[in-house]
């Protein structure tokens, strides 16, 4: 992709995922012209979310109760990578399989699933 929105480097070198920041900017500009600061869920969606044929990705504002991701993050099947280190990543994964959830972080052998030796 040689569009300057997705590839700021020369020769199409891709960096990390920016959550389609260019789409965010356009949505915020539009909202600003209309005199509001809050984005509706369908106004800003990443390209990967829209492209996925299996609807595997849900995107939105984690802090906005009106967005779908807000309830999803509190789903008991949801987890983040390295949760207990306090890095606070914004990507949540959802899996009904215990071994998948457990592979997202380091655990001591003595720690039961769902029960950590120390709070984080």
């Amino acid at each position: 992709m040689l569009s300057p929105d997705v590839s700021v480097r020369m020769r199409g070198v891709v960096e990390k995922c920016s959550f389609c920041f260019h789409r965010y900017q356009r949505a915020m500009d539009k909202a600003h012209y209309e005199g509001r600061r809050e984005l509706k869920e369908e106004e800003y969606q990443t390209a990967c979310t829209q492209a996925c044929p299996a609807d595997a990705i849900t995107f939105g504002d984690l802090n906005n109760p009106r967005h779908k991701v807000y309830e999803l993050k509190n789903d008991p099947r949801a987890f983040r990578l390295l949760e207990r280190l306090g890095t606070n990543p914004k990507v949540y994964y959802v899996s009904s399989r215990e071994w998948v959830r457990r592979s997202g972080d380091n655990y001591l052998k003595t720690e039961e699933p769902g029960k950590l030796a120390t709070k984080h």
């Binding site: 390295l82 592979s103 972080d105 380091n106 001591l108 720690e111 030796a117």
Partner: protein, 412 residues
């Protein structure tokens, strides 16, 4: 032929012999310079760094050399602030070693950043919340202080001293030296510490992360402490090497033993603090992040528990116990062993806190990032050593580095 440049009251070898020595070391230096230019012209692909493991051999050398150069600030602090006047007989050499160490560190950083012409970015676009910004500023300021401490020695060259302005300048700088030494100690405290802070603040990397006080992890204070303890050991070690190669006694025993004693007690108190900190980290901090101690020392070809033993016991406890005892200090073999072990200990500590930290797997499904240096990295790491040898040789030959030399080696 160059006898007019040699200080009064001492003897030096023939110019021919000296030039021969310089050209041999110079050849090694040129190899390092060649590797350096390769890195600058062709890029950092000359090293074995990659996106996953971005630390090269030279960055360990950078940290080790800064720790070993700590003899300059600590000896200066002891002499000018605490008032240990006997150390005036070794302070010149300590400053010279410090100057070499810090200029080497800046050179290594210039190579490491890949585009040295953009080196001003860290000063102009400073991130005031970063440990590395702190390091860059304090290191540069401290290098300025070291240059200011080195200049009077250069001006004391027999021919330069004849120029009245230079003579007066050197005299006045000596008079104000305590102010520079105090500023140097202040700056050193922070940049030595911030290098430890770099690893200690990494809450995403349980191997490096440490609790602390306010914004400073405990590794901050441990780094400053180890630099103050092992820097003088390195100075004394290099003094001994110089004495062996020149065949002359350059510093009286009481000065060596005093610095060794202070260094020994600093080392002992440091290693106790280090053991306490490691214990707390291994039993409380790391398990709180889901790791046992052996997670960091298994499932890889190199990093085993041996490195912890080497750093703390062999490189810390043993030299500390030797240097705090009078027998240990007075026995030349034991003393030399202690210096070498202390230098090894602090170097291993810098390796562990930088290179091992980045090698430890981050995600539960990652593997260790093993790496070996390319020849360009080896050459650029040996470059500062060759440069140091040349500068020591030139300074020793033409400058009155050791005030006690004429007395200890009478020339009839």
């Amino acid at each position: 032929m160059d006898s007019a440049l040699i200080p009064k009251g001492v003897r030096r070898c023939s110019l021919g012999k000296f030039t021969l020595f310089l050209s041999i070391v110079g050849a090694v230096l040129l190899w390092g310079v060649y590797a350096m230019f390769l890195c600058w012209i062709k890029g950092l692909n000359q090293t074995n760094m990659n996106d996953y493991y971005g630390f090269a051999l030279w960055i360990w050398a950078d940290l080790a050399v800064i720790a070993l150069g700590g003899g300059a600030f600590f000896t200066g602090f002891l002499k000018y602030i605490v008032g240990k006047d006997e150390l005036k007989n070794i302070i010149n050499y300590a400053v010279l070693i410090g100057f070499i160490c810090y200029s080497s560190a800046l050179l290594i950083l210039a190579i490491d950043i890949g585009q040295p012409l953009r080196g001003w970015f860290i000063f102009w676009h400073a991130n005031v919340h970063s440990m590395l910004t702190e390091v860059a500023f304090c290191l540069s300021c401290y290098f300025a202080v070291l240059s200011i401490e080195y200049v009077p020695l250069v001006l004391e060259n027999r021919q330069l001293d004849k120029v009245p302005f230079f003579h007066n300048l050197a005299h006045n700088m000596h008079g104000v030296m305590a102010v520079f030494a105090a500023t140097g100690a202040f700056l050193s405290f922070f940049h030595q510490g911030s290098l430890g802070g770099v690893a200690g603040v990494l809450f995403g990397r349980p191997f490096g992360f440490r609790e602390g006080i306010f914004v400073w992890p405990w590794s901050f204070f441990l780094f400053t402490w180890s630099a103050a303890a092992c820097g003088p050991c390195f100075t004394l070690l290099v003094t001994k090497i110089l004495e062996k190669s020149t065949g002359k006694k350059l510093v009286a025993d009481n000065v060596v033993e005093l610095l060794a004693k202070i260094s020994g007690w600093m080392l002992l108190t440091y290693i106790i603090a280090k053991i306490a900190d490691t214990w707390y980290w291994a039993t409380v901090t790391a398990p709180g992040m889901g790791h046992t101690l052996m997670d960091f020392y298994s499932n890889n070809p190199v990093y085993g528990i041996w490195i912890l033993v080497l750093e703390i016991v062999i490189g810390g406890v043993v030299p500390a116990l030797i240097l705090v005892t009078k027998t240990g200090r007075k026995n030349p073999i034991l003393r030399m062993t202690a210096f070498i072990l202390a230098v090894i200990g602090v170097s291993v500590n810098r390796w562990v806190m930088v290179l091992q930290v980045m090698a430890v797997p981050v995600m539960p499904f990652d593997i260790w990032a093993m790496y070996y240096p390319s020849w360009q990295e080896v050459a650029t790491t040996i470059l500062p050593v060759a440069y140091g040898v040349i500068l020591v040789a030139l300074s020793y030959r033409y400058l009155p580095v050791f005030p006690q030399e004429p007395k200890l080696n009478p020339v009839d």
